[in-house]
Chain length 345, copies 2
DNA sequence: CGGCATGGTCGAAGCGCTTCGACTGCCGCG
DNA sequence: CGCGGCAGTCGAAGCGCTTCGACCATGCCG
């Protein structure tokens, strides 16, 4: 046991160990890893081999300190009442997966910390950038965002998106598309079953925009309409349907923008003696999974959670590397026709 | 604009800035923050004041590098088929919230990276410890865990928990408790509506243990039983209920361990002409929210997501500070009687 | 054939923090 | 009255990495 330097002090392999093993300078190893300078092929392979055999992983803290980049992004995910958690998680998972593809890790922040949390993220250099979910029309986090030195991307649109980078499905257009589909089939009287009341009151963009699109399209096409929120428990859904059918005996078209309510809604229609699609056509705005798991499979506008998450990360990475980004990305809705819509009899 | 040192090079406040502002050495500031040496009250207040006015936040990377502690823990959250996402998120949120109380941030890992991801976490010193969710009886991640230098806590129990730190509700006992409650009311024929088949086949501990507890208790009490998985869509639930009632015409007690299925189950019972609790008593194993939102409010054994998450973090923090921890923490189930159980007629 | 880019590599200087040993008064005790 | 000890503070040495300028061969041009 000669005192040969202090090869593996703590079982921790450093860049120095790799450098020695490969017979090069530590800086060379660093350049191999980052690609920021040209390295001859022979040296590169040698270094990479050493890295693999020693199973070297750079120390994240050291890297962050020296390079001013943590390779971590924050995902700010408030879990507010009335939001459908499985859908939110689809976004989140997509963000994490995409981020890993860029060699970034994801730090999870819930709402509880509020503004102080954002400030802390910023100042501590724990993360390089932020992705915010569940954005409200007048979101308290937005003024803060501008103060921060770090770039951010919003999933969802606030009322005043100027200067921000936002991604989301074009919910206004989605509302229109649903109505247009029903109108195209010949329906003249349609209703929107929306998110729980709290979601609208809070000023959540996607809910309000869908309703606006729905109403505007219906007005343009001269349909009579009925639009309102809907709570999530089956009893409430049943009540809502009962009232609706009583008030609108000739209603034949329904748009539902509330994942949690899809099954209860179908049950309630059945309970009130309405067949889908023979008596009532139903269009949903939801992830595909929900739509085609239902019986009958629902004609729907897809909420492209995966694509939105991916886009958000892509945009953030562009901002981090100083590339230009579009001000906002509204993904166009696409309607898939399934078994729940048909012409009225 | 005299060249006075280089006060705020980059808009970034460092410990040096604080030290100067407070008229002390940087090490003193550090000790104020960490409390690792005694600092006089007067100095402390002065330093804290400077920190506040300068709005200083330590650089996470530098701290991690110097102290070998990142103040970040990893939350490994596979989202497997058949798991109820809102429940998982309850755990996750509780973990994040509790962690913040210990001044830790939470890094979110999904399953996709597999073992390599765990190794990377370990070697890069990005996180100090891990919390693993959705543990299977024979979980592939476990052998790896022992290799790592970092402590970990499991939410859920594998088949062989020796040497590991695990927390969870005692699902075996929960299964028993449900049966005992029904038997106590006088029911003689009971059934278990379980998680989707995939969950059992995968070897998920909580599902199997609940079933075992259910069956053992029923055997002990001499009840006839019928236990099996149940898929999540309403149609499948309805089918399941139909078969069950056909096969067991005198069935009067039902235990349901599957959040997604609670409402459809009640609907199916109604559809088959069974009133709850007059004809059939129902006990659920689920978070309280689900149980009392149902109609009628369900007698249930609570899944204490919040407490489990909190415990997991507490245990991890103890391990991180070298304090002893119990091998395993099985939380005792508690049954709350509501409106869905009654003696059979 | 001499000088000058140029590709490829090295060395050293930090990045901002923690921590360890050393130093300084000051109190209390013998 | 002197000295050991202790509370309180300082200075400096890293932690492991990136990056900048320097350096050294080549190969190429004039």
């Amino acid at each position: 046991m000669s005192a040969h330097k202090r090869e593996q002090r703590d079982g921790v392999i450093t860049i120095l160990d790799v450098a020695h093993h490969a017979g090069v300078a530590p800086s060379t190893v660093s350049y191999v890893l980052s690609g920021k300078r040209t390295i001859s092929a022979s040296t590169r392979t040698r270094v990479l081999a050493s890295i693999r055999t020693l199973n070297y992983h750079p120390h994240a803290g050291a890297r962050a300190l020296a390079s001013n980049r943590a390779n971590v992004i924050a995902l700010v995910l408030p879990l507010r009442a009335g939001m459908h958690v499985p859908v939110l998680m689809q976004f989140a998972v997509s963000v994490v997966t995409t981020a890993r593809g860029f060699d970034q890790d994801v730090l999870l922040m819930t709402a509880d910390e509020g503004p102080a949390g954002l400030r802390r993220m910023d100042a501590s250099a724990l993360v390089d950038g932020l992705i915010l979910m569940d954005v409200e029309l007048d979101d308290a986090r937005i003024p803060l965002l501008c103060d921060l030195d770090r770039p951010s991307v919003l999933i969802g649109f606030p009322a005043e998106p100027a200067g921000l980078t936002c991604v989301d499905l074009d919910f206004y257009r989605a509302g229109q598309v649903c109505v247009e589909h029903l109108a195209g089939l010949g329906h003249r009287e349609v209703a929107l079953i929306g998110a729980p009341r709290a979601v609208y009151e809070r000023g959540t963009g996607f809910a309000r925009r869908t309703m606006a699109g729905f109403l505007d399209a219906a007005a343009t096409l001269n349909l009579s309409t009925d639009a309102g929120p809907c709570e999530e428990d089956p009893a409430a859904v049943d009540r809502r349907v009962g009232e609706l059918l009583a008030r609108r005996p000739w209603l034949t078209g329904l748009v539902v923008h509330n994942e949690a309510v899809v099954d209860p809604l179908l049950a309630a229609l059945a309970a009130h003696g309405r067949r889908v699609p023979e008596d009532v056509s139903v269009v949903a705005i939801c992830p595909d999974g929900v739509a085609h798991r239902a019986t009958p499979a629902l004609t729907s506008v897809l909420i492209p959670a995966e694509e939105v998450g991916t886009q958000a990360v892509r945009l953030l990475m562009r901002k981090l590397t100083g590339q230009p980004v579009p001000d906002s990305s509204l993904l166009p809705p696409r309607l898939t026709v399934r078994d729940s819509t048909a012409p009225p009899v």
